[in-house]
């Protein structure tokens, strides 16, 4: 399992994001972070973003701008990524871990609903399964602090 917090927090802990997604506009990307091609589906984007978080890299998703349940997933994911980025090096406090896992719980809760309500295509479903696996790994890392 890659060291989530050690590598990511070699850089300075970012300031808390402004309310909502306003500071990231439609792309939801921080300046200087890698651009994700617009043709990539939201599930692929989410999968890559989870993989990045797991590896301790910063990540944001652009579909946070959507005005639907997929957008809910994106916004909650970006809040999670922001919160992770704000955490200092040297491991998480119990309170931080609790707060981060609650955010992750929100992301995964909406994903579960999207899957059962048939709002995910078969192709997206496959990618989503990988994203969920990454999310579980991320949760295990958060639990370990």
């Amino acid at each position: 399992m890659p060291p989530l917090l050690g590598s990511r927090h070699n850089r300075a802990c970012p300031e808390p994001a402004a309310a909502g997604e306003g500071s990231h506009h439609n792309t939801g990307l921080e300046p200087g972070e890698s651009e994700i091609p617009v043709t990539v589906s939201w599930t692929s984007e989410l999968r890559q973003a989870f993989a990045a978080l797991r590896a301790g890299a910063p990540a944001r998703v652009s579909f946070a701008a959507r005005d639907d349940r997929v957008g809910d997933v994106g916004r909650e994911f970006n809040r999670l990524a922001d919160a992770l980025a704000r955490c200092g090096p040297g491991g998480l406090t119990r309170e931080q871990a609790h707060s981060l896992r609650n955010r992750l719980a929100g992301v995964l809760a909406v994903l579960h609903v999207l899957r059962v309500t048939g709002e995910v295509t078969t192709e997206e479903e496959e990618t989503l399964a990988h994203a969920l696996a990454d999310a579980k790994e991320l949760d295990a890392q958060l639990r370990a602090g």
């Binding site: 909650e76 896992r101 609650n102 719980a105 929100g106 992301v107 809760a109 579960h112 999310a135």
Partner: protein, 475 residues
């Protein structure tokens, strides 16, 4: 059947709304709350059968809310959810009766299975409670044991003992006096009423089986022990174990029983680990244990352990003022059970019942009334169908008639019954009845109406008896 209602309590909007949508999609009616105050209101208004309850809420903790619900006796399964599982919270939740404790992020599929199991468990619990209430209602023990002043006094003492902390109780009394019933009363009137009541007759099974029955065995403890088996002491943990005919227990098992009574610990057969249980043991016997002790058949230390609280049930002949109230009670009971409306007991029946000594005690009286109820055609129970030994006890009027050389005696409305002495080796009531039916059919040359008239029963009753005795072909 409609699906049970779920209450979702979580301050995280996405989690709350997703859970609501997910379970609504599965067909459950769902209500949700974002704080404890709202949850308490919904619990009262909506009475959900299950609650998905977040541990950390803005106004109170889920554990506090659960404690309130437990105090109020709110039914339904509560599953606690948390992103920060702490052992203390888990312990507190389980102690307060939570069904499960799940960790966030939630796996909705797993949660769905947990919820399904929770509903099944709550349904089963409710059914068990209903059945227990039913058993309690059906016992009507105040009437079954007796209503005389002496028996009421005894029952008051029984209730006092039931509500005490006594771990061992000894019930003595002749066979049929209701020792098992008093054992049940003690259980159902105690704080253990919601736990198991297990009864075992120690004379009914061989010693080796009795040991494994009581204490269980480990897998491989003996040739046939293919799997571990729990003993009745484990099954009755926190409840009551009634050991009937305790005097029939072997000295070896008496010693083992004494250890459980003293330490509340035992080992399964073939086991090496001590198991701790909390069981109230009620021992019952119709034997004189002091005598058995003097004859070295019963351990002295076990006797003194068991006899700390002793309840003696007197034989029915010593409280005859209970005979008629008991007979009336059984009449009502069987009238209901057989769906046969009855107006009461005939005067002559009352006299017969009071004239008999009832060596088989309340059980014999109960069986006699049941038999008479089955056979009686009228709405008033007469002595006609009581067992012969009750109608004609050795010192009764029939015996007196026989002694005077009479072979027939006139009863009730002028009909006559034969005066018989029952041989010392006994007779068969069924065969006597069969013989009478056969004789009546022969005498009536197969005319069923005439045969029924001879026996003073209805044609339907005659046909029933012909079928029962396979006499359809008799002409």
């Amino acid at each position: 059947m409609p699906k049970p209602k779920i209450l979702v309590v979580d301050d995280e909007k996405l989690v709350r709304e997703s859970l609501q949508e997910y379970f609504e999609h599965q067909g459950y009616p769902v209500v949700s709350a974002e704080n404890a105050a709202e949850a308490a209101r919904l619990m009262a208004d909506e009475q959900p059968q299950a609650v998905l309850l977040d541990v950390r809420l803005p106004d109170r903790t889920g554990i506090e809310l659960l404690a309130d619900w437990k105090d109020a006796g709110v039914p339904g399964a509560v599953i606690l959810m948390t992103a920060d599982p702490k052992l203390d919270d888990v312990k507190a939740a389980i102690k307060l009766g939570a069904y499960d404790f799940v960790s966030k992020p939630l796996d909705f599929d797993e949660l769905s299975v947990t919820l399904h199991n929770a509903f099944e468990a709550t349904t089963l619990r409710r059914e068990v409670r209903t059945l227990r209430d039913e058993v309690r209602k059906r016992m009507d023990y105040h009437e079954v044991v007796g209503v005389s002043a002496a028996m009421r006094q005894l029952m008051d003492f029984v209730l006092k003992v039931a509500r005490s902390e006594a771990r061992t109780i000894l019930i003595t009394g002749e066979s049929g006096t209701g020792k098992d019933l008093v054992g049940k009363v003690i259980h159902f009137e105690s704080s253990r009423a919601d736990k198991s009541f297990v009864a075992l007759n120690c004379s009914a099974i061989p010693e080796t089986l009795l040991e494994t029955e009581l204490f269980g065995h480990e897998k491989g403890a003996f040739t046939d022990a293919k799997a571990m088996k729990q003993g009745l002491f484990e099954v009755a943990d926190q409840g009551t174990l009634l050991l009937d005919e305790i005097s029939e227990m072997s000295p070896f098992l008496q010693a083992k029983l004494l250890r459980v009574l003293e330490d509340q610990t035992f080992r399964r057969v073939g086991g090496v680990r001590d198991l701790k249980v909390d069981v109230r043991v009620i021992a019952a016997t119709n034997r004189d244990l002091e005598r058995a002790m003097a004859e070295k058949h019963f351990r002295e230390d076990l006797y003194y352990r068991l006899s700390v609280i002793t309840l003696h049930l007197p034989p029915l002949r010593d409280h005859k003022d209970d005979v008629l109230p008991l007979a009336e009670f059984f009449l009502r009971h069987y009238s209901q059970e057989f769906r046969k409306p009855m107006d009461g007991l005939a005067e002559e029946l009352r006299r017969v019942l009071l004239n008999y000594d009832w060596p088989g005690n309340v059980r014999e009286l109960k069986n006699a009334i049941e038999r008479a109820m089955i056979l009686e055609e009228g709405r008033v129970l007469t002595p006609d169908y009581l067992p012969i030994r009750v109608i004609a006890p050795a010192s009764g009027p029939v015996a007196a008639a026989a002694a005077a050389g009479e072979t027939w005696r006139t009863v009730g409305d002028g009909r006559r019954i034969p005066v018989w002495d029952i041989p010392a080796g006994g007779t068969s009531l069924e065969q006597v009845e069969r013989m009478l039916v056969e004789q009546a059919l022969k005498q009536a040359r197969g005319n069923q109406s005439e045969a029924a008239r001879l026996l003073d029963i209805s044609r339907d009753a005659l046909r029933y008896k012909m079928k029962k005795f396979r006499l359809e072909e008799v002409r």
